[in-house]
């Protein structure tokens, strides 16, 4: 489980900011991967449907 910095009051402002920045960076990367997959699945579906139709 991911630790939540809010639950750890001893964390300083800079440390919390670093933690959040790291989370944002990872979320952005994951978002790009998921978005790209959605586009890929759509493209594969169109190719497969087009192949079926032409047969």
């Amino acid at each position: 489980m991911m630790n939540d910095p809010k639950q750890h009051t001893h964390l300083g402002k800079e440390e919390t900011a670093l933690y959040r920045a790291r989370q944002r960076s990872r979320n952005k990367a994951l978002g790009i991967v998921l978005g790209s997959l959605a586009v890929l699945f759509f493209a594969i579906s169109i190719v497969k449907i087009a192949a079926q139709v032409s047969h």
Partner: protein
């Protein structure tokens, strides 16, 4: 997800996406993508560019997943070697559970997408290649036998076979020969490296050939594999699977490979040896495979265009 990097006294800093990317061994992946692409381009038949892209993506992601599982399993060994000690797990930038889950997720996703998007034979071979590298090689044989590299070579040999099967949907002699080329190429390639980094392997107890059988035996075996590799690379031309563009390239490239291997195979290193012939063979072996497979794809293009 936990991370091993401490922040304050109790909170761990999440691993960066770059560390996850590093788990996939991106440098190895370039060769995997290239050889897979060449297998795909050299195969007879047609494939839609989107499906071809999907096949190569799945080969790359599958290799990345297997590499992540390899790094997860070998984190302790990596920590003991200079070459690998800065990887995400031994350096403490990531916790083992994250690496393991990442490896399984990539492996599973690549096989399922390959099956649904391309064909299930390619997906089955991809699944077996991941199992072969992550379990048969990494877990089972690497720590047990000095022949680990010979067997491990099989893992790296799958991409062109999968690329080919992605187009044709069946296995013939040609893709098996492509598999054999990388299989025979791996021992001289890796043992050349092992000759000049053997101290590291000895330190962590991995039975690499130079550590177990000695330098002299390793050098002889490098030469033997280089000599065997030459006819194997010429076989696709001999059976009529390729034209002269590939055949002549394979012959010239192979003769250079043999010449460099003779230098390594017949010499003995002295104290404070700079191991230049071994480093040259290792560097050439990488170039060799890139050019050889490039010529395989080029040969197919030449045939399609009616140039040969």
């Amino acid at each position: 997800m936990d991370s091993a990097t401490p922040l304050g006294s109790t909170v761990a800093l999440p691993a960066e996406w770059r560390d996850f990317f590093a788990l996939t061994k991106p440098r190895v992946m370039t060769l995997v993508i290239f050889s897979g692409l060449c297998g795909l381009l050299a195969a007879p038949g047609e494939i839609h560019p989107i499906i071809a892209f999907t096949a190569i993506l799945c080969i790359a992601v599958g290799a990345g997943g297997a590499a992540a599982l390899n790094m997860w399993w070998e984190a302790d060994l990596d920590a003991g070697m200079k070459r690998t000690s800065k990887r995400p797990l031994p350096s403490g930038r990531m916790d083992p559970t994250s690496a393991r889950d990442f490896g399984f997720a990539l492996s599973g996703a690549s096989v399922v997408i390959m099956g649904l998007g391309v064909n299930w034979l390619a997906a089955a071979i991809l699944a077996f290649s991941i199992f072969y590298y992550a379990w048969i090689y990494t877990v089972w044989l690497k720590p047990r036998t000095p022949q680990n590299i010979v067997i491990g070579g099989g893992a790296g040999a799958f991409p062109p076979l999968i690329g080919w099967v992605a187009v044709t949907g069946n296995i013939t002699l040609m893709p098996v020969l492509l598999f054999l080329i990388i299989f025979m190429w791996t021992p001289p390639h890796f043992w050349a490296l092992a000759l000049f980094v053997q101290i590291d392997y000895a330190k962590v107890g991995i039975p690499m050939m130079p550590v177990v059988a000695g330098e002299k035996s390793t050098r002889r075996q490098i030469l033997i594999y280089a000599l065997l590799l030459l006819p194997v690379t010429l076989a696709p031309w001999w059976i009529g699977g390729t034209g002269w563009v590939y055949g002549v390239s394979a012959l010239v490239l192979g003769l250079i490979f043999v010449a460099l291997s003779i230098k390594v195979g017949l010499r003995e290193s002295g104290p404070d040896d700079n191991m230049k012939p071994e480093k040259r063979l290792f560097a050439y072996s990488v170039l060799y495979l890139f050019v050889l497979f490039g010529m395989l794809a080029g040969d197919r293009l030449a045939t399609v265009q009616g140039w040969q």
